[in-house]
């Protein structure tokens, strides 16, 4: 059997050198450890960086330990590169779709994939400067690069150097899970960890997994010109999201020319004459397709190996993540955890927010709870699908009477002027009240629109108040006010209407 093909590595260009200078400079020398740190943070992804910055700002003596690169998945091979690539992909889609906007489509639209990827590296490098080692050091954080192991309840080593701590936060994140499919490892596959290293567009791409990552990249690569097939073993994409949202995404994929295979499992991968042959089954329908590159996006594994957690008395869940309570405390009361290594919701915003809770609880004995967080999330497909709070099925299961105010975007002038009517705002309220329980938005910029609902939920503002908020016209955000107006109109019961009529005709 031939060894698996080597995954692509990052081109060593000026942007890559600049990025490494920010996030792991070759010349970096670890500082001499302080006698004791008030807080040691393990892992410098979004959670670790947020924790370090907050703790340093609060005046704590802080050490931050990173094995590889500052910035973690988000900056290096997650949100930042994917959103950068998605923007280029959308531009190509708009060019091809120019007639929809009454514009002339260019006769020929050649895709410069290498240029798109160079832009990804440039922007990633630029944003890497925001959390550079030097900035952290200037803020008073002792940054250590190297392999770390716990050696006791309040001690650890970094490259054999001993550090003592009062409190620690583990924020080592998670890595892509490669599904156990016969022949997949031998054939080789990409994950988010290396897909952004590509410099040539694959002609035929198979995406395994219909979660946020798989959906975003399937659409992006399709729009950049690859022939994309996406395989999902569930009836719809984004299984947590509500059915209408997921259905809209399926429809959008069909318009983009993506071959959608729902309810389908990949059973085996074979390499024949240099081609990757993918065997699939959907109930009783067996089929095989040929592709050039396989990308997997089917879940993530927490990074807990090599940390010697047993020595610190930190325990793991069945799923392999770090066990924490609602205050983010591990089984060792000195040690907390934050971000993907311990959370089900693996989003940058959740990681950052959980890090802030962990710092306050660790340094000040705070009692802040993870469950009090209201965290929105968004899948950055076109259209975007954003959600915050409860889903209707969750409310139903909890016995909370729920009613949804639905505004299709074809009701919103700005969506119509922009030819972006395919979407909606759904706001779920507690029945017979204006209390917002949650919301789902499907729109081109749903991720931005959901923030207004999140603000309302955090501030305890209901639809009654939102209906009084004048929204700029014409904006797609008006859909939120329209939902609030619809709520207001439901207060006009026939009895109140009759009373009003009587009063007006006095």
């Amino acid at each position: 059997m031939s060894p698996p093909p080597t995954p692509p590595t990052t081109p060593q260009d000026v942007y890559e050198r600049e990025r490494l200078a920010h996030v792991h400079p070759e010349t970096w020398r670890n500082p001499t450890p302080a006698e004791r740190y008030q807080l040691v943070i393990v892992g410098a992804g979004p959670a670790g960086l947020a924790a370090a910055e907050l703790a340093a700002a609060l005046g704590a003596r802080v050490a931050l330990i990173e094995r590889h690169l500052l910035g973690g998945t988000c900056l290096n091979n997650g949100c930042v590169p994917s959103k950068t690539l998605i923007r280029t992909a959308r531009l190509y889609a708009d060019m091809r779709d120019a007639r929809r906007y009454g514009a002339q489509a260019p006769a020929d639209i050649p895709v410069d994939f290498a240029a798109a990827m160079e832009r990804v590296r440039r922007i990633r490098s630029h944003l890497g400067g925001g959390d550079s080692v030097r900035k952290l050091a200037a803020a008073g954080v002792d940054v250590f690069f190297g392999n770390m192991q716990f050696t006791g309840a309040d001690t650890l080593t970094v490259n054999d150097e001993k550090l003592c701590f009062d409190k620690a936060i583990i924020a080592t994140g998670a890595r892509p899970h490669i599904p156990d499919i016969a022949g997949l490892r031998e054939a080789g596959c990409l994950t988010n960890a290396n897909v952004f290293n590509l410099t040539e567009l694959p002609r035929r791409l198979l995406v395994i997994g219909g979660g946020p990552l798989g959906c975003e990249l399937a659409q992006a690569f399709s729009r950049l010109g690859a022939q994309v097939t996406i395989v999902q073993d569930k009836p719809l994409f984004l299984e947590r999201e509500e059915r209408d949202a997921a259905q809209m995404l399926s429809d959008a994929f069909a318009r983009d020319g993506i071959e959608v295979r729902l309810n389908t499992r990949v059973t085996a991968v074979r390499v024949v004459n240099g081609e990757k042959l993918i065997d699939m089954v959907s109930d009783d329908y067996h089929s095989t397709i040929a592709v050039d590159v396989i990308l997997t996006g089917v879940g993530r594994l927490p990074n807990v190996e090599g940390l010697n957690l047993e020595a610190a008395g930190v325990s793991l869940t069945h799923a392999g993540g770090i066990t924490v309570d609602d205050h983010l405390r591990t089984a060792n009361p000195r040690i907390f955890a934050a971000g993907d290594v311990c959370l089900q919701q693996q989003y940058t915003a959740t990681a950052t927010a959980s890090a802030h809770i962990a710092v306050r609880n660790a340094l000040f004995g705070g009692r802040q709870r993870l469950s009090d967080l209201i965290v929105p999330w968004c899948t950055y497909t076109d259209p975007e699908i954003a959600h915050v709070g409860l889903y209707v099925r969750e409310a139903n299961r909890q016995g909370i009477p729920v009613k949804t105010f639905t505004i299709p975007l074809h009701e919103i002038d700005r969506a119509v002027t922009d030819s972006e009517q395919g979407g909606f705002v759904k706001i779920h309220v507690r029945e017979r009240s204006d209390e917002i329980l949650g919301a789902t938005i499907v729109a081109l910029h749903a991720g931005s629109m959901i923030n207004e609902i999140t603000l309302a939920m955090v501030a305890g503002i209901g639809l009654r108040t939102l209906s009084r908020v004048v929204h700029a016209y014409p904006t797609q955000g008006e859909a939120i006010r329209c939902a609030a107006d619809a709520w207001n109109r439901t207060r006009l019961t026939p009895r109140i209407r009759a009373r009003l009529r009587r009063w007006l005709s006095r």
Partner: protein, 434 residues
């Protein structure tokens, strides 16, 4: 212009003609569509069984002929191959969705269908309620319907899950399609809960209704489902006026009122016509499961729309390719008689080509015009369309199907287990004669 009653009579009589002309009299099986080589749809057989009593009462078919056809179908299912093999007719009391009209064997590698079996058995029970004489044939018919109903292993269809699965195939076991949200399945759940032999529990119904979404859309509160037929099918047999399950009690509505609101929302959507299709307005609506123009149009160059074949079109999120289902409009008659009649008359006036032998085509797409300027019309007829039209016109005119099924103790028991209370259920004692 025909008076309303005369128009309805003509359309209903023509709908019944479908069942007269597309049946294999030897086994009572009825074709899915009037097109050549159409297989049998078991749901259409259920509609046929429900249609015969209407036809007898309206003088369109002699009682003994209706009885003969009903018996032929029920005897066929009794004697059918229940081994669950790939060429059998059924398994565990359920039946494959599509069957060969001559042999009754499974075709198209179709699935063992829970909802279609429910529609078939609802028809069998309708026949059993109607043919109530003491004659040998009618006694046999009632025994057959009872046997077929009791044979269905509803519990098995849960596959140890919370709700009923949508289908099963011998090649791969249960299918994995999601079946969340309000759908036409109330009649399926009620039948499954009313079973004296293999009943599912009320928890199963509650687990299904936990996926419901109560929405305010275009200023109407309703239990959301996009395609119009979802708001009709269970109502063909179940009189859901004034009786409420827990969900509807909480919402201070009932399923009948809900279907009325669904009509208002369909009408409102078509009036707003977000995709700017021809023929959509306050009297041009009806987005539902129906045939569509895709097969005929795929080869056209520069076709800007995305067209669908047979698909469940819905409001407000589509799919919407400009195709309307006139039978879905007509089937709205019990819920919103004036609106449905106005729309049907309007569609007939604008697109007379959608009426063939006085029967409604499955669908019409006014945005797609042929060289003769006529709207695209689906070829032939679909049994499901004719069945639901016939039943809903009858429920509007005389309420006969509802009256028959209110007397069916299995359905009453099923409704009670589902938590339905009030209305006509109050007046009928639990259990009692079937």
């Amino acid at each position: 212009m025909l008076a309303d009653e005369a128009l309805l009579d003509r359309l209903q009589r023509a709908a019944f003609g479908y069942f007269e002309h597309n049946i294999n009299p030897r086994n009572g099986l009825v074709a899915d569509t009037s097109r050549d080589n159409s297989p049998v749809s078991i749901a259409v057989v259920g509609f046929a069984l429900s249609a015969y009593p209407v036809a007898v009462e309206r003088g369109w078919m002699a009682r003994d002929e209706a009885l003969r056809r009903s018996l032929a179908a029920l005897r066929f299912f009794r004697d059918s191959d229940q081994s669950g093999s790939p060429t059998a007719t059924g398994y565990r009391g359920f039946y494959y969705h599509f069957l060969d009209i001559h042999s009754g064997a499974r075709v198209w590698q179709s699935e063992l269908s829970m909802i279609d079996t429910a529609l078939l058995i609802a028809g069998a029970l309708t026949a059993a309620m109607y043919f109530s004489a003491d004659s040998a044939d009618e006694t046999e018919l009632r025994a057959l319907a009872d046997f077929l109903y009791r044979r269905i292993d509803w519990r098995w269809s849960q596959d140890d899950g919370e709700t009923i699965r949508q289908g099963w195939k011998p090649e791969c076991g249960f299918l994995h399609y999601g079946w969340e949200g309000y759908s036409e399945a109330i009649v399926l759940y009620v039948l499954a809960m009313g079973s004296p032999s293999h009943p599912i529990s009320g928890d199963c119904y509650r687990a299904w209704t936990a996926t419901y979404q109560w929405e305010n859309l275009y200023d109407h509160d309703y239990l959301y489902a996009g395609p119009l037929f979802v708001h009709h099918f269970s109502h063909a047999w179940l009189d859901l006026r004034g009786i409420r399950d827990r969900f509807m009690r909480e919402k201070r509505a009932d399923y009948f009122e809900n279907s009325r609101r669904a009509v208002l929302i369909q009408r409102e959507y078509a009036w707003r016509n977000p995709h700017e299709f021809d023929g959509y307005d306050e009297n041009g609506w009806g987005l539902s499961a129906c045939d569509g123009p895709s097969d005929e149009q795929l080869g056209l160059a520069n076709e800007p729309r995305r067209l669908f074949g047979y698909a469940a079109r819905g409001v407000p999120y589509g799919p919407d390719d400009g195709t309307l289902s006139p039978s879905a409009v007509l089937s709205s008659l019990p819920f919103a008689p004036d609106l449905a009649l106005a729309a049907v008359r309007n569609l007939l006036l604008r697109y007379p080509e959608m009426l063939n032998d006085d029967r409604l085509a499955s669908s019409v797409n006014p945005s797609l015009r042929g060289a003769d300027g006529k709207a695209w019309v689906s070829a032939g007829h679909y049994g499901l369309d004719q069945g639901i039209v016939l039943m809903m016109i009858e429920n509007h005119r005389s309420g006969l199907p509802w009256k028959l099924m209110r007397g069916c103790s299995y359905l009453r028991d099923g409704l009670r287990v589902a938590g339905f209370r009030g209305g006509w259920l109050l007046a009928s004692a639990p259990g009692g004669a079937h």
